[in-house]
């Protein structure tokens, strides 16, 4: 049985070698995509476009403005003396936030009376808005304490401590997810065409004449792709580590194991789709739709699963990338061992087994 599997694998590998474009797509695409998107994607808010309305024009008001600009988060896009033009600036998106300092501000500070500043912000992007508001609060509290020469003594102070990613750098968090996304899409699409191609070309008949059983055929066909996909996964992970400074704190062996499990699942899913479809076009369409959107949206890559409605949380359990991303972050960023992510690994094994069985059943029927 093993020998027959290997024979199919060798045949497929020979065929793959002649198909330069597929090889290139499998090997080069993940790296190129990672290179482009790894740089482009970030949630770290910078260069917030700030309009300043200083109606006080005193030393105190200038000090507040100075504090905003010196923080490095804000850039001044407008300097106004009254708030009326703000509407236009916000509508056009020229300004994202505005600091309005009322006329009595300087006098209040001089008289050491508690005072207030208005901070207008564009809330359409709620996440950015939340972050911007947090920055503004910090800056104003610090400047206020300085101007009033008081030591703030709030009843409770929080000492924050961030583990695994002390600067809360979003690249370190996004790049592992991006690796999973790219590997999923490329591995599903690679095998989605494998079986259906034989059907379309009519070579399925000659395979049928061999003593191969469906399982041997499928495993044999998957193996070469697993080889190529593993190489490209290794390349992507190396790039993540070397270029995007994603630390690899856990063991490389575990990393390799979980990656191979995930790739096997993705390739198996492609095989299953391939056995369903009658034409390469349908197979490709199915592969793209079933791998791209779920991996983008339901895997925890960008959007936290715990915030989704229950029904979607349930659906996310059949998205293999969910388990891989979770395990990947645990191994790479937290450096923990299988005692933590064994259930993710188990889920990946289960997914791989189920899709392989489904694909075998389908292929047996069509054989």
């Amino acid at each position: 049985m093993i020998r027959r599997m290997l024979a199919v694998a060798v045949k497929e590998l020979l065929q793959l070698r002649r198909d330069r474009r597929t090889i290139l797509a499998l090997l080069a695409m993940p790296v190129v995509l990672l290179l482009i998107y790894g740089f482009a994607l970030s949630f770290d808010v910078r260069d917030i476009r700030l309009a300043v309305v200083d109606q006080s024009r005193t030393r105190a008001s200038r000090e507040v403005i100075e504090a905003f600009l010196k923080s490095g988060y804000f850039v001044r896009v407008a300097d106004l003396s009254e708030p009326r033009p703000l509407n236009g600036l916000f509508d056009r998106g020229t300004a994202q936030a505005a600091l309005v300092i009322p006329a009595g501000f300087g006098a209040d500070v001089a008289g050491r009376r508690p005072t207030a500043l208005q901070f207008v912000l564009d809330g359409s992007d709620s996440q950015t808005a939340n972050t911007v508001l947090g920055y503004a609060r910090q800056i104003v509290n610090a400047t206020g304490a300085g101007l009033f020469r008081v030591e703030l003594r709030p009843p409770v102070v929080a000492r924050p401590l961030v583990w695994y990613n002390p600067d809360l750098d979003s690249t370190i968090f996004l790049v592992p997810g991006l690796v999973a996304f790219i590997l999923m899409v490329s591995s599903v699409i690679a095998t989605a065409l494998a079986v259906v191609r034989e059907k379309e070309r009519g070579t399925m008949e000659s395979l049928r004449a061999t003593p191969l059983v469906a399982l041997e055929l499928l495993v044999g066909k998957t193996l070469p792709y697993l080889l190529v996909a593993s190489v490209s996964a290794a390349g992507s992970l190396t790039l993540a580590w070397g270029l995007f400074d994603v630390p690899i704190r856990g063991s490389v062996v575990w990393l390799a194991l979980i990656t191979v499990l995930f790739l096997a699942g993705g390739l198996g899913w492609g095989m299953f789709l391939s056995s369903l479809a009658d034409t390469q076009q349908v197979a490709f369409q199915l592969g793209l739709l079933s791998s791209m959107l779920p991996t983008l949206l339901l895997s925890g890559f960008i959007f936290p699963i715990s915030s989704m409605p229950r029904a979607l949380q349930l659906i996310s359990h059949i998205v293999p990338a969910r388990y891989f991303i979770s395990a990947l972050r645990e191994i790479v960023l937290k450096g923990v061992g299988p005692e933590v992510w064994w259930n993710d690994a188990l889920a990946l094994v289960a997914f791989g087994t189920v899709v392989l069985v489904l694909a075998t059943v389908r292929t047996v029927r069509s054989l």
């Binding site: 740089f39 992007d125 972050t131 509290n141 979607l312």
Partner: protein
């Protein structure tokens, strides 16, 4: 004009005869919009919180209650030993851990500042950042009930989306993305299918000019795109209750140049590829994915490196996402959105010209 009408009717008939196409066209957008609308949220709720209360007094329990009463946090563990936090964070069962040291109540009674510790899981940077800022908010409330006034109070006023609901921001973007995917997929198949089936020759022997063939292919798909928007709009407005502050007429008007771009890109792909499979590959990886990532739909453009920011000016989806958000959330009209409209028009005309040149070259 007559000949143009003929090819239009032919395309529509062909569309109708494909049994798979109708469900894909009309059911898929609604289903996608519903699922994506729910999935694409960055609002955090129920962040998993572990608490280690070493003080065990009324004030300390009161602080814990403030955390658990807010909808942002969900208590998953009450620990007696601070070292147990390791395990909960390592396994990802908790995202934030609050430690209240022994003596907390005593310090507060003496009028001092009591310190508590917050540990956040930074491996999920998004949850970590937002979770920490929610936690600061909860702690701030304690100060407010103690009547502590900050010397300078910051009064925020949030425009356009006062409750900071991320869905209001995401759903219009999803609508734009779906419209792009659908119209591009359809038109990228348009010419290449005729080539594959061998019917291109027949088309060419008709007295139609290349321009007329292209136009005849575009108009039906533009109609399909329009119908798609019309089926998806009720979902946006009534199911997700995204406020519509601007006018639908402006939206409709600015959708025209956007579809010009997406349909044009599809045709361009169609002239670049020899098989339908190639057409799908090229349109997905070369045109769709970059547009999704570089349009500001999920990842703010201002956070990108400068070089990428320049590239985004060539992305039609970027302008259309701005148009949708402008019309829905800001309620602005053409007086603000004309640059976006003009940019899409320019890109669309450019893309179509390119597609026409390519098409003619392939004929010759």
């Amino acid at each position: 004009m007559r000949t143009l009408l003929n090819i239009l009717v032919k395309e529509l008939l062909q569309l109708r005869r494909d049994p798979r196409i109708l469900p894909i066209l009309f059911v898929a957008p609604v289903v996608q919009l519903t699922i994506l609308g729910y999935a694409a949220t960055t609002d955090l709720r129920r962040v998993e919180l572990a608490v280690c209360d070493l003080d065990r007094t009324n004030p300390s329990r009161d602080l814990v209650r403030r955390f658990t009463d807010s909808s942002y946090f969900r208590l998953v563990a009450s620990l007696d030993d601070q070292r147990a936090i390791d395990r909960w964070l390592d396994s990802g069962r908790a995202r934030i851990a609050l430690t209240i040291p022994a003596g907390y109540a005593a310090v507060r009674e003496a009028g001092g500042s009591a310190e508590v510790q917050l540990v956040a899981d930074g491996s999920d940077a998004m949850t970590g950042t937002l979770g920490l800022s929610y936690a600061y908010g909860v702690i701030q409330q304690v100060a407010e009930t103690d009547n502590l006034r900050l010397p300078i109070e910051l009064r925020p006023k949030v425009l356009y989306n006062p409750d900071l609901i991320s869905r209001n921001f995401m759903v219009p973007g999803v609508l734009a993305m779906i419209l792009m995917i659908m119209t591009m997929m359809l038109s990228s198949m348009a010419l290449v299918r005729e080539t594959e089936l061998g019917t291109m020759e027949q088309l060419l022997v008709t007295p139609l000019s290349p321009g007329a063939i292209i136009l005849g292919k575009l108009v039906p798909y533009a109609m399909v795109g329009t119908v798609e928007i019309l089926t998806a709009l009720p979902v946006v407005l009534f199911w997700f209750e995204v406020p519509l502050r601007g006018s639908l007429a402006v939206l409709a008007l600015l959708t025209v140049p956007f579809m010009l771009c997406t349909l044009g890109l599809g045709l361009l792909v169609s002239t670049l590829s020899r098989t339908q499979q190639q057409a799908m590959m090229i349109s997905t990886f070369v045109f769709m994915l970059p547009q999704i990532y570089l349009s500001g739909f999920v990842f703010p453009i201002q956070n990108m490196p400068k070089a990428f920011q320049v590239v985004t000016y060539a992305v039609p989806l970027r302008y259309y996402v701005q148009v949708l958000r402008g019309v829905f959330l800001k309620g602005v009209g053409l007086e603000v959105l004309w640059p976006q409209g003009l940019a899409m028009l320019g890109l669309g005309v450019g893309i179509l010209t390119l597609a026409r040149i390519r098409f003619r070259r392939r004929l010759g």
